[in-house]
Symmetry: C2
Subunit: 434 residues, 2 copies
Amino acid sequence: MGDIIQARVLKGFRDMLPVAEIQRASLIDRLSATFRSFGFVPIDTPVLEYAEILLGKAGGETEKQVYRFTDSGGRDVAMRFDLTVPFARFMAEHLSELYLPFKRYHMAKVWRGENTQRGRYREFMQCDFDIVGVDSAAADFEIVAVMRAAMVALGAPDSRVHLNNRAVFNRFLERLGAANASTDILRVVDKLHKIGQDDTRAQLAAIAGQSAADELLAFIASGDDYDATLERVTRLAGGPGPDTDRLAEIRDMAVASGIADAVVLAPSITRGLDYYTGVVFETFLDALPDIGSVCSGGRYNDLASLYTHQKLPGVGASVGIDRLLAAFEALGRSGTSGVAPSVLVFNLVDGKNAVYQAAAAAFRAAGLTAEVYPERKKLGQQFAYAEKKGAAFGLIRGSAEEERGVWVLKDLAARAQTEYPSLEDAVKAASARA
Amino acid sequence: MGDIIQARVLKGFRDMLPVAEIQRASLIDRLSATFRSFGFVPIDTPVLEYAEILLGKAGGETEKQVYRFTDSGGRDVAMRFDLTVPFARFMAEHLSELYLPFKRYHMAKVWRGENTQRGRYREFMQCDFDIVGVDSAAADFEIVAVMRAAMVALGAPDSRVHLNNRAVFNRFLERLGAANASTDILRVVDKLHKIGQDDTRAQLAAIAGQSAADELLAFIASGDDYDATLERVTRLAGGPGPDTDRLAEIRDMAVASGIADAVVLAPSITRGLDYYTGVVFETFLDALPDIGSVCSGGRYNDLASLYTHQKLPGVGASVGIDRLLAAFEALGRSGTSGVAPSVLVFNLVDGKNAVYQAAAAAFRAAGLTAEVYPERKKLGQQFAYAEKKGAAFGLIRGSAEEERGVWVLKDLAARAQTEYPSLEDAVKAASARA
């Protein structure tokens, strides 16, 4: 035997084994169905792009993490590190073929050479959905409604969308005379959940003085009552304006659509510093608040200013697929549903492959998953395989069963078996328990 | 306005716009459902791997085409150029966590810096499915059955799987005394469909003499009758053997499973020279034979000999996703099915967003796709949007309709509209026409 090459993946990368990949595929299927039901359409873009295009606006940290190289044609290329920049390039390139408003979703892998010590992978999946070419309360609300519907579709109805409007916050800071310190203030406010009320107050006082700190804490306080919170921030921001009107409109639409209970007005949500200009959102699981937001986004002024002079305001969000999968695992929710029970046809007698294959075909024709063990082996080995595959039923048709004219269906979990006078009866019995 | 960066994809790469991406997603969904129904499970592997692992066995041509570079950690890495090598590495790495036989499918992008003048893309999707860890007629047949079921699921029942056994061909060449010229002979035989009977005969005669050429042509002749063809090749190969027995077993299983009409024994199918050692298959569309095989594969001796000493015989095939999509387009088959009719709720009166959103939610609750036009705009603009999205219905609830207490559902294709006394009635009407 010759030398072999050690089989191993790169540091920070991973294989998806069947159980994990089935979970991920199920999650993606349900997200996709949700997006489609709201009229969003899928797109895809190349993994490799000109580095100049991907890195046009990127700062130092991103640039260091990106996989960038010179291809054999001498081009300076890079692997995408998010789905936002490719979407901006896509919109600029295809504006004449598309229509506005344009509602797309994109679920695909991205790559970042991150520090793997923080438990991050260098290859991971992103899921973005956006409405571009319109700045309206209806578009803002639709993103909230999709976020909510996605959580329900994923089996997490015990989750809520936290919503704010950056414009209200900015107006409040101006009234407070603290607009020039907004970067520092936002950074502290963003950490409220992590550092707690007292530390937040102390840090805000150091930046803006004790009285401003008290007002800031009053502003960002969370209450479950949307209307009361809206009234408070409207007052603190100096009265009603288009920004608070929009929050009221979103509330009206949430009430009319029956999802008001799942939408929280949370003035402490700011989502970073520069990119977002209007509403911002985060989504938390009631059962697992500490993992952070599983779906976040907001409104931005202009998507593709690097690549086109046409202004493209938009609103969108990202689903944290890996975080959700980890959360469902922690909560003991499989994340899969509607999997048909599978049937393993045992391979018991030489020369009977045609019979076994016909039996499997009959189960499949009834909508079940079915396979034949592909060779004659000891029964124990075939049972072990059935268990590994998670098969619900075994079909047993050996010499004894053939002589007696019966088909035996074994419930593999209950270890109970039932005889049927015909294959059709066995198929019916398995289908009835699907 | 500042300078902008020209938005463009790399040569040989392409964006997937919504219509194309929906087609591709629909094809992938149906393939996935077919694989699952036969007990195949999905896996995924990283796009980037150690170059040493991906290129272990690769020859000059592959090596030239692969995207290979040094990452920021100094590793020699490459982007996968197929799904077979990563699968071999995956099996070697995870043998202890898996079970045999292992049946997997993998649908993912691969990258090759091919000459784009031949109309090839440098980024394309592959779809592989394999059964490894077993060498049996049942496993061979199952791949054939999956290929057939996939074609039916994709709306191409007018297709047939062409099947051969390389071992029979090799035995025949030995009997003919032409085994030493097998490489040249196989190369000519492989071109039969392209160069025709006469040129094939001339080229074979030049290699092996006139009489051997006549025997070769007799051997590779195609007939629709599986049994007659099997009898002929058995005789020409020197009598029955395990190789012809296996072809007979596969026929018996095809008959028992009701797919015998779709399986052709075609002795001219050889599928290249080295990799395959047993049965080989190709799939042709009756309506479009010239595009070549849309699903091909075969049996191999050992999948992962580069990475493990454990012998892993297997059988599998690849679906040519891009070729199938091109074929369905040429045949005018959309490839999509079961798309729910979509409803666009027109945005007609200021301040009525909550009503419109509630209406869209009611259509979605009934299982339809529904969206609200996100701002009040001229009706013509909203109709143009509905057409771009391919919406089936428009819901009209303007001031006049509100006064009269009616909801108007407009069939956008038929340009006919119907009034309903309640939203529920409009939802029911749209659902009934789904």
